[in-house]
């Protein structure tokens, strides 16, 4: 037996909430399954949005460059205007610049060994500096890209590109190339897979003029002020735009996510997922409340304050959010883990699990509003009329 003095609502409201939920186990299981489903739905939509957002800047984020020099007016990373290689040498002369190199990014046609073409994005980088290039190499070695016209692509896209194994001869832009390695988890935001090569191979395969390039990327000296160096580069290179890496990533992400409307549709799906989740949870919590209406009537007849009844229903919401939300988050993490090997990334970063729990909590509390209204609409006199 519980002893001691207790302020009303501190404990019995919570106990009543818990027992109301757990008393009918089959209904409780249905409630939890409904919440788990809603949480997974929201997590998947959010995860797709995050994955989509992340994939728009994956190359920029995995490049160790501090600054990016791009053709004036370029909107994003994938589609850019050529710049003169002269800009590279000018950039190197700016105080505060530790190193600078050219980076080539071009949409190309990949001819599959068994016929048919696929669009790819060829990325050529200087293998000596390691500023840019492939990562997560699971077959082959980075050094293998030094061979003439050697390329790597991601395992996710091997079927799409019609290559089954390393060593396969392919054609890019009607020039022969050799697949020398495979990466894992480097997804393209567009439908065109990334294909990595050395800068010279990329130049040769793309037929890009020797005195032209797409990007100049570089590192700053440790003691350099990034903003001052950026401004100095912009002054000396008036035919280009100069960005610090984070700014260029943000510009690219904003372009794809919001200017094109592609991100807005994914965001809308995430919001719809949330709404569907609220409806599902509202439905199950409402059903639980309706089942216990006579008890709420009894409480009201006894003279229980409104706050006590709010507390019972909100406690039901918090208990449901916790017991349904946590397994839902666990399932979402498993699905996200499984998506690492698929073309559509679902990202559920660890810090987002907290966000997801808070969303679940808010969703359950919002969903309980209808239940509170129902419970408070009961005429307490009903208890004498049963």
């Amino acid at each position: 037996m519980t002893g001691g003095r207790s302020h009303w609502g501190a404990g019995m409201a919570g106990l009543l909430a818990w027992r109301n939920l757990a008393h009918d186990r089959s209904r409780f299981v249905v409630t939890l399954v409904g919440i788990i489903f809603a949480v997974v739905l929201i997590a998947m939509q959010m995860g797709l949005f995050l994955g989509f957002s992340d994939s728009t800047t994956t190359i920029i984020n995995h490049t160790r460059a501090d600054f990016w020099i791009v053709g004036k007016g370029s909107q994003n990373f994938e589609v850019t205007l050529p710049i003169s290689e002269r800009e590279l040498y000018l950039a190197r002369s700016v105080p505060g610049v530790a190193q600078a190199e050219a980076l080539l990014v071009q949409f190309m046609l990949w001819k599959k060994p068994d016929g048919g073409n696929e669009s790819i994005i060829l990325l050529g980088s200087d293998l000596n500096t390691g500023l840019a290039g492939p990562w997560h190499i699971v077959e082959g070695r980075l050094e293998d890209l030094r061979r003439p016209d050697a390329v790597m692509t991601d395992r996710v896209y091997m079927d799409k590109l019609g290559v089954g194994r390393v060593g396969t001869q392919v054609e890019i832009n009607n020039r022969r190339a050799l697949l020398v390695g495979v990466t894992q988890g480097i997804r393209s935001f567009t439908t065109s897979p990334w294909v990595f090569a050395s800068y010279r191979s990329a130049q040769h395969l793309s037929g890009f003029a020797d005195d032209k390039t797409n990007y100049v990327i570089g590192r700053l000296r440790p003691d350099a002020d990034p903003t001052q160096v950026r401004d100095a580069l912009a002054r000396i290179l008036p035919r280009t735009d100069v960005y610090l890496s984070a700014d260029f990533a943000a510009r690219t992400r904003d372009y794809w996510m919001f200017t094109t409307g592609a991100g807005a549709s994914v965001l809308m799906s995430a919001v719809l997922g949330l709404l569907v989740g609220v409806v599902i949870v509202a439905q199950v919590l409402y059903a639980t409340t309706v089942d216990h209406l006579p008890e709420f009537g009894t409480l009201r007849a006894m003279g229980a304050p409104r706050a006590f009844i709010y507390k019972v229903i909100l406690s039901q919401a918090v208990i449901s959010a916790t017991l349904g939300g946590l397994p839902g988050i666990a399932v979402s993490l498993m699905i996200a883990k499984g998506s690492e090997f698929s073309a559509a990334a679902i990202l559920v970063p660890p810090r987002w699990t907290v966000v997801l729990y808070v969303i679940t909590l808010v969703m359950c509390i919002l969903a309980s509003v209808a239940s509170i209204r129902k419970a408070m609409s009961i005429d307490p006199a009903m208890v004498f009329q049963r």
């Binding site: 404990g11 229980a304 006199a381 009329q385």
Partner: protein, 221 residues
Amino acid sequence: MSAPALETRGLSMVYGTGDTAVRALDAVDFQASAGEILALMGPSGSGKTTLLMLLGCLLHPTAGAVWVEGQPLAGLSNHELAQLRLRRMGFIFQSYNLFPALTAAENIQVALELKGRDLGEAAELLDRVGLRGRLRNYPRQLSGGEKQRVAIARALAGDPPILLADEPTAALDSVTGRTVVKLLADLAHEQGRAVVVVTHDPRVGELADRVVRIEDGRIGL
């Protein structure tokens, strides 16, 4: 001289309006005093339960007035009426209205907590109704008479001076019903509470200090 525990004057209640209006109570004058058990009897639809609901601050009368321990209910807000019920009244229902998911002790602890009392009093209250050994039993594990005694113990939480009971023996066999009525009578006589019981049960009438008969919404002469 102290005010009656419950008093009504010219109390009327009409449900609905126009052609469908039903007069449930018609100018009822009524009093119940501390230390007495009073049986409200009459045929179905005579207005007994309506009077009980008005006495319990659960309905607003169409006309007339109700006083609880000398305090007029007219003008009190719903919140104030709820507070009055919570502090001064205990309710006993025909179908017990226990929380099925809570044990006997927990059912009483809900009422104790609402009234700001020590939760440990639940054992003592169950003891008072002869159910100390049923602390941890759920309502489904109790007989009808035991459920009603738990409901009475819950009504006694916070030591209210007024008990209002609606057909408390209707669902009980004769022996159990008599035990429950005896318990209610003892609560009136030994503890000085005003106990008003709506009933069809003549056994209640036998043990009551007074029987008030209602017919067609009027107190019988």
